[in-house]
Symmetry: C2
Subunit: 507 residues, 2 copies
């Protein structure tokens, strides 16, 4: 399309230079504006917000399908509620460090570090507040304060709720749009169950939801059980869902936590069981955020801009009139009819009738990643055709009589190809970890590549893991949920195991 | 339906005692939970949040229809940005007080009182912030900081954006769910135009949107231009939309502001006009909030609970199986088919198959205000009928072959009757103000009734208005947008005028 010049004029960095491409493209495609005067708090522009809300809409559909109720909790949490959480977190942390049962430590309490990561509201108007409040970093504390009021008997269980809200984290690391921000567009589901087994089934349901969503978003993922030292505070275990970005760094886009009855004990959430006595509930949470959009941007863009999966693209089809002074009315009228027909079928369409050259429009919509572009001019009108260009490549004339069918086929094709391309990218970015050799200390048989994620067989201790992390410069993502097909030697102990772990540089 | 006993058992206060009925019903119907430990910050429960989101969805549709883009701005605003706003607000306030042109005072600045109403973030983690930030009470300051970056030339205008977000106000008055809260679910549209006339046209568009929405919500409204002293800070004029609640108090549910170029001058928002020189934009805003839900609750409920308009009811139709041990499978299966058929037509349905008595279910859904209830048992199955009960009264058998048609007719009827009932309530709650008589000071010819809103002809000064307010205990809502059909004597000066003003006790 001969816009090689325009590109360099506009100065999009090549995607191979991902660390420059990404921050450039999120602003150039008008997803967000970073010029708001607080670092890490960006303004969502209409195109970005619409994309995010489409991502949300798929999540909401899954929540409805699985019987979760949508709530909305207050943003502010009084400090005194945090005490319960702090005690729990510090208790579990020390139990882990000391390798003992948390129960043994339950009465021995200490402040945790959570307070270091929150924004504080200690003043209102001209008053100093009696009890300081903080902006939620996540909503366990707010929600579990209410759960005892809502849960009386086993008939109230399972309790399954979710919300999509703004959360806050006082990030001191470098911020990056969607990836590491200080105001986070956040989804969180919280459930309470009669026992551990029912909570475990919830984790399975969550992972099924994750799988359905990631297919919609054409995001191939690595699912792993985080190592103990990287488990969410207060969780029994954490399952994390990571996307490999083009620079080889993994981005955690979702996580699922099994809390057992640990929070229930801290917040006194009990129910009357069928025997008439009180039991603690078992809880889970499932979280995702605007990182999903960051992952979609990173996974699918190219040198010309974004490539959005049809399921989340604000416009799935953009229609460009090719007009002269004489025929503008008739062409626009026909294009309107075409667009309305597609809209009625449920497609999101947009006619770009700005008074600029078509080449400029092509450039803009390519940058914004719209899956299908339809150009329509006099020649097309005369021949009852329309020119269809796909954002992932390919251009063909479509007879207007077959348009609905062709568009449906094309969007499915684009979706499927994006899923496949994603899977290929993931496969080609995962390698087996080079051999570890112990001669006067540990060495690697080969150098670690910068843009790769590694797997290896592992059954060692935490300190073995530390050796590997130090040697490779990689971080343990965790254990694959799938065992190795057949046993292999642990990379460090040499003992046979079917446990497969992933290691990566992480965001 | 013989649940008079249940009612008193459950203890719903009669609606005639509105000040007790309202706070009871919002919790009993599970719209919100007020037991969250911060006053004025309630937890939205799934039923309430779904209702609110349906209200929002109609607003969003109107915004899409009229070409507004949906944004999402950061919650936090650095204090230094507020300085611009404070200067503007205090300038306009003093200009009004002194009856002079704001231009004459532009360089003479002073702090305004806005800071008294916000929550402050001055600490993050363990640090004191260099620049304090506050939680947005509304987003003029945040948005107008970005507008100069987005508006370059007349081609960028009009700029029309909106957002639906949480806003905060440090209320010191008594809080009431949806009506006066400290975290507010808020809608705000902001526009910028080339000149005053174009901004005025926007105000007209906003009022048309208001009218369409209020019909959907079956809310009869009083629309008036607020008196100068009650105009939104920074606005040239404010048009307010008030609903009369059953206790006679008016509740402002929406407002539309014409800013002229006052904010543009404070925030330096200019564009290159067609002559190549710089002009200030003219701006408007349009705001609504969760008060809409408060108004719907207040306007339409009765002694048995809520009555929700079909457009915003989480379920439009609830289906109740009337089963015995022998037929439960066949009845539930048939009810499922009926529900699916209605869902496919776009209706929101819910089958209540809880293991409790039907009478209890009737009670619950009446309380929650669902427009249509369908009961289905063996006799209905045998005769191919279903029993249809309308929340606003009436019960009839419907042949299942005509169900779709009958439901459509019924929901339209309910909607229309709710609009009509609302209009009747409004008409009967508005009275002409008793005559004012001046004999050794002003007197009223008749007593003011507690639950009424008053109108009168008025062309007096601000101090005349003050006399009336003091004498009646009422507040000036403002001037009706419609003139009197023929001139009448001003209630205080006696001069002829066609200006009609409204007065009320307000929330």
């Amino acid at each position: 399309m001969g816009d090689e010049n325009q590109k360099s004029k506009r100065g999009i960095p090549p995607k191979s230079n991902f660390n420059e491409w990404y921050p450039f493209i999120v602003e150039a495609a008008e997803l967000i504006d970073k010029r708001y005067p607080i670092k890490g708090m960006d303004v969502w522009r209409p195109y970005g917000w619409k994309t995010m809300r489409l991502i949300d809409s798929h999540t909401h559909k899954e929540m409805e399908r699985t019987g979760h109720g949508e709530c909305n909790f207050p943003l502010l949490i009084p400090e005194d509620l945090l005490e319960k959480e702090n005690k729990l977190v510090s208790l579990l942390k020390r139990a882990r460090e000391q390798g003992v049962d948390p129960e043994d430590l339950r009465h021995d309490e200490e402040e945790a570090g959570f307070k270091k990561e929150v924004y504080w509201v200690k003043h209102a108007g001209e008053n100093k507040l009696d009890i300081p409040m903080f902006l939620r970093p996540t909503s366990e504390t707010a929600m579990y304060t209410m759960f005892p009021l809502w849960i009386r008997s086993h008939a109230d269980l399972p309790l399954k709720i979710y919300q999509t809200v703004n959360t806050f984290r006082y990030e001191t690391k470098q911020t990056r749009s969607f990836i590491r921000v200080r105001e986070i567009h956040f989804f969180e589901a919280h459930t309470a169950h009669v026992d551990e087994e029912c909570a475990t089934k919830q984790i399975e349901e969550d992972l099924e939801i994750v799988s359905r969503l990631m297919t919609k978003f054409a995001l191939p993922v690595i699912i792993s059980k985080r190592p103990t030292w990287d488990t969410f505070p207060g969780a029994w275990y954490t399952i994390a869902i990571d996307v490999v970005m083009p620079n080889g760094r993994t981005l955690q886009v979702a996580s699922v936590h099994h809390y057992r009855d640990q929070w229930a004990k801290a917040f006194d959430i009990t129910y009357e069981n069928i025997n008439g006595s009180q039991s603690y509930v078992h809880q889970t949470t499932y979280g995702m955020s605007e990182r999903l959009l960051g992952a979609i941007v990173g996974m699918h863009g190219d040198d010309n801009g974004l490539i959005l999966p049809p399921a989340v693209s604000p416009f799935q089809i953009v229609l460009i009139p090719i007009i002269s002074k004489n025929n503008s009315e008739i062409i626009l009228k026909e294009l309107d009819l075409i667009s309305e027909k597609l809209k009625k079928l449920g497609y999101r369409t947009h006619i770009d009738n700005r008074n600029i050259r078509p080449g400029q429009k092509y450039y803009d919509w390519e940058l914004k990643g719209v899956p299908i572009r339809l150009d329509f001019g006099q020649r097309d009108f005369d021949s009852n055709n329309i020119m269809c260009t796909s954002r992932i490549g390919g251009k063909e004339q479509i007879n207007l009589d077959n348009l609905e069918e062709e568009i449906s086929t094309k969007l499915n094709q684009i979706q499927n190809e994006m899923v496949e391309m994603g899977a290929n990218k993931l496969n080609s970015s995962i390698k087996k970890l080079p051999q570890l050799i112990n001669e006067d200390g540990w060495k690697l048989s080969e150098k670690i590549e910068n843009d790769k994620v590694y797997w290896t067989a592992f059954e060692g201790t935490d300190s073995d893991a530390e050796i590997i992390e130090r040697l490779t410069g990689l971080t343990f993502l965790g254990e694959s949920l799938d065992n190795l097909d057949s046993e292999m030697e642990c990379c460090i102990t040499g003992k046979n195991t079917n446990c497969k772990v992933f290691l990566a540089k992480t965001y």
